[in-house]
């Protein structure tokens, strides 16, 4: 299966391990990812908060490039997914807006591109196919699947139920891990405000970590570069500010899939995180060879 791949701007920096693990896991699963040639930033929150047409044009250029490839596009980053998917809906539904956007981009986009998150692409393969590749089941690992907001809302682009999503839980169970039931899986972590107003965001991160710990989870899994950045990188600070000691490793779901499929910890880059993942992975998978 061939899928167009939209890495997103963080793929070489803050979300390096997401990009690398997504590529490796897809390769093992027989999904051929073809990078969208000369893609540009999806525009993210900054563009849609500033100018509606700018947001549509930045996403629209990417959609036009994808349409030329004749493939469905998959984005690992939830923010990229949401922007591309929302633009797809708007440009497919409104010819007048599409024309305006085409004038801005200089492309003749017809509105036919399909957009998916990498989580959907992998989940679509089905239990049998994924389970067949699991060589080192993650038995004994209790994971809190954290979806955040961008994959679940607004309604036009939701990949699962916005109040009680199960898609990532299901995929994680295929690895042999236990996906815990918990309260904050669909709550926003506030990442888009983290640089501008960290004081506002820290309590939001704290609420999510608290809920994950209460559920008995050993770690969190995410499918969003921004959530990961916020929950992992700010965890020591949350511990400091609120006087609560957290040690909850935050994985990309692709890293856990990769480990279960027999990829090494080095290949899945689990050492790149701020919260040390070694003690937990040693407990679950044994000493690293």
């Amino acid at each position: 299966m061939k899928v167009a791949y939209f890495p997103g701007c963080c793929y070489e920096t803050s979300a390096k391990e997401y990009d690398l693990s997504a590529r490796l896991v897809c390769k093992h699963l027989g999904i051929e990812l073809v990078e969208v040639p000369d893609w540009n930033c999806c525009g993210s929150t900054a563009a849609h908060s500033t100018d509606r047409l700018l947001a549509l044009a930045l996403a629209g250029r990417n959609l036009a490039l994808v349409e030329r490839m004749g493939l469905t596009v998959a984005a690992p980053c939830a923010a990229c997914y949401q922007r591309l998917a929302l633009a797809r809906v708007e440009l497919a539904g409104d010819e007048c807006v599409r024309q305006k956007v085409n004038e801005l981009t200089g492309y003749a986009y017809r509105g036919s591109a399909q957009v998916k998150s990498i989580l959907e692409v992998i989940a679509d393969l089905g239990e049998e196919k994924v389970k067949a590749l699991v060589k080192k089941p993650l038995h004994g690992l209790r994971v809190a699947a954290y979806y955040g907001c961008l994959l679940l809302r607004p309604a036009e682009v939701q990949i699962d139920d916005p109040e009680n999503p199960q898609l990532m839980d299901r995929v994680l169970r295929w690895t042999g891990a236990e996906a815990v039931d918990w309260t904050h899986k669909a709550e926003c972590c506030g990442a888009s405000l983290a640089v501008s107003n960290e004081d506002v965001v820290l309590p939001m991160v704290a609420r999510i970590l608290r809920a994950a710990r209460l559920s008995g989870a050993d770690c969190l899994a995410t499918a969003c570069a921004m959530c990961h950045f916020n929950l992992d990188l700010r965890q020591p600070k949350v511990s400091r500010v609120f006087g609560e000691r957290y040690h909850l490793p935050v994985f990309y779901f692709t890293q856990l899939l990769g480990l279960a499929m027999g990829l090494s910890r080095k290949e899945t880059n689990v050492h790149k995180h701020i919260v040390n993942t070694r003690p937990l992975l040693t407990r679950v998978l044994g000493e690293e060879r």
């Binding site: 701007c9 963080c10 070489e12 920096t13 803050s14 390096k16 000369d38 893609w39 540009n40 930033c41 525009g43 993210s44 929150t45 900054a46 563009a47 849609h48 908060s49 500033t50 100018d51 509606r52 047409l53 700018l54 044009a57 930045l58 250029r61 409104d94 007048c96 807006v97 801005l104 981009t105 200089g106 955040g148 907001c149 679940l152 809302r153 607004p154 309604a155 939701q158 916005p162 109040e163 669909a186 709550e187 926003c188 506030g190 990442a191 888009s192 405000l193 640089v195 501008s196 107003n197 960290e198 506002v200 309590p203 609420r207 990188l233 700010r234 600070k237 790149k272 995180h273 701020i274």
Partner: protein
């Protein structure tokens, strides 16, 4: 106590303006408060989301556009999927941000920082076609007058090889610049984004 002037006419005018910018009719809101109940940012806001909706209904344009709340909304859209009147509240907030931004940089500190962050983010996209994480953060620190904020975060990222100082431009950067130029030129001309009539 501050005196506010409320009239049917200003209310209707503002509801229509907002409808053109967002495709949402705030007059439909019946103030159940569900948006506020589920909003993870409501505790940090000066006006709760349902209050923003009410002031917008009443046509109190200045009060709404000067609120910090519209800038603290993260567009997580929990409000939108729960609204019993089917109003995409997050889209209303987004539209209010755009309207406020056209009137200039917001004055209140928290709101101003969000707007500056957005401006920097877009400036790096205009230049490179993609986000320059470090450049955008440093520029933000400089312009928001807090030089060392997030320095701890930056250091941890650097140690893990997650910082790249140089980023390449996309090949067709000219196409991106053209988009920005055209949008800049268009701004200011009032032009309804939504087709059709408000009920």
């Amino acid at each position: 106590m501050q005196e506010l002037l409320i009239s049917d006419q200003s209310s209707d005018t503002f509801c229509t303006k907002l409808w053109e910018e967002s495709g949402q009719d705030v007059a439909e809101c019946y103030q159940c408060g569900k948006c506020t109940a589920g909003c993870p940012l409501a505790p940090a806001m000066d006006l709760a989301p349902n209050q923003v909706m009410r002031l917008a209904q009443l046509g109190l344009e200045n009060e709404v556009l000067n609120a910090q709340a519209i800038w603290l909304c993260a567009y997580c859209s929990t409000c939108s999927v729960r609204c019993p009147r089917g109003i995409h509240v997050a889209e209303v907030m987004d539209a209010l941000r755009r309207m406020a931004r056209r009137k200039g940089l917001p004055g209140a500190a928290k709101a101003r920082r969000v707007a500056i962050f957005n401006d920097n983010f877009l400036a790096t996209i205009k230049r490179f076609g993609r986000l320059h994480e470090v450049g955008s953060m440093l520029l933000f620190n400089l312009l928001s007058g807090r030089l060392f904020q997030n320095a701890d975060v930056g250091y941890e990222m650097f140690r893990r090889g997650k910082i790249k100082l140089l980023i390449g431009r996309i090949k067709e950067i000219g196409e991106i610049r053209k988009i920005f130029q055209a949008v800049d030129k268009r701004r200011g001309q009032e032009c309804p984004e939504q087709g059709g009539e408000r009920k």
